[in-house]
């Protein structure tokens, strides 16, 4: 008898707790900018604009730039 009783489903959908914006903001500002700088160096440095002279960065990530879809040269 006992085994025929329907078991309640283990997980009822609950909305996960929100992370407060005040907790996210400082990380988003500092790391967001850092990540964008990294993307700039992979995607555009020594192409349209240059922080460093020469073409070393451009040539080093050349294949990645083409295959990741960035305009390369």
């Amino acid at each position: 008898m006992a085994q025929t009783v329907a078991q309640p489903t283990a997980t009822t959908p609950v909305v996960p707790a929100k992370l407060p914006l005040k907790a996210i903001a400082p990380w988003a500002v500092f790391f967001g900018i850092l990540m964008l700088v990294l993307l700039y160096f992979v995607g555009a440095e020594q192409g349209a604009t240059s922080v460093f002279n020469g073409t070393d960065v451009h040539e080093w990530v050349h294949d990645a730039r083409h295959l990741l879809g960035f305009p390369c040269h």
């Binding site: 996210i24 990540m35 555009a44 192409g47 294949d63 083409h66």
Partner: protein
């Protein structure tokens, strides 16, 4: 639920991005590189200038490719983790894993596919070096526009949901996104610098491989980061399920 949680998510996001980057790197090396090599052969056969090699081809196609793809994975992994922190509990009734996968799917579309449909990836020998500034600006503009519009229509959908219901609010948001992106496609300048003799099949294969790399990256990221986030935010789901099951068993 505080700053430490966000830091933890960020670290996990960057690690998941690195893992997804490794998967994408395999696809890039196996599917992408042969097309890059063929395009370079075409370039050499049709160009009269002899370019000085700064970094050898064997380094560009291995260590150079790895640097680019992995840094790209880590960077987007970090950004997506921050976006996840914002989206969790705000976009709908999705747990951490589902939120992560949904976010990755949207990121693939907004960050890559939408800009790609207007300004697709190009192999070597396509593109006039004199227009690199314009093409780079347009590409990043398209990417920025697409991401901002995706965020905007998500907020729009949330606002409409109480009035229209979740289904029609989502449909309305997607339609708004499609129309606005369509307008951007229409009004942004066309770039077509494919040399006449460039093989069409090679161009098609190169672009397909570029799409495969991004799909691998974002799918891998969604699955790996989703699992890491689930374990952080919902620790020991089995124990919790047992606790709930005990009173029912009696």
């Amino acid at each position: 639920m505080n700053s430490a949680t966000v830091r933890n998510l960020l670290v996990r996001g960057m690690l998941a991005g690195l893992a997804a980057g490794v998967l994408a790197l395999v696809v890039a090396y196996v599917l992408g590189e042969p097309n890059v090599d063929k395009a370079i052969s075409f370039e050499e056969a049709h160009s009269h200038e002899h370019e000085m090699e700064v970094v050898s081809r064997s380094l560009q196609s291995t260590a150079g490719l790895a640097t680019g793809v992995l840094v790209y994975g880590v960077a987007f992994g970090g950004i997506a983790a921050l976006a996840f922190g914002f989206a969790l509990g705000r976009v709908g009734r999705f747990g951490p894993r589902a939120t992560a996968l949904l976010l990755s799917g949207c990121a693939l579309l907004a960050v890559y596919v939408v800009p790609f449909l207007k300004y697709p990836a190009n192999p070597p020998s396509i593109g006039n070096p004199d227009t690199i500034g314009k093409r780079t600006t347009l590409y990043f503009l398209m990417m920025l526009l697409s991401v901002l519009l995706a965020v905007a229509v998500t907020i729009l959908g949330k606002r409409l949901a109480p009035r229209l219901g979740t289904w029609w609010a989502t449909v309305a948001a997607v339609v708004a996104f499609t129309v606005l992106i369509g307008l951007a496609y229409q009004f942004l300048p066309v770039v077509n610098e494919v040399p006449k003799a460039f093989p069409a099949t090679l161009l098609w294969r190169f672009r397909l491989s570029a799409l495969a790399i991004q799909t691998t990256l974002w799918a891998g990221y969604g699955l790996v980061f989703g699992e890491l986030a689930e374990r952080l935010l919902n620790p020991k789901p089995a124990a919790a399920a047992n606790r709930r099951a005990v009173p029912a068993a009696r």
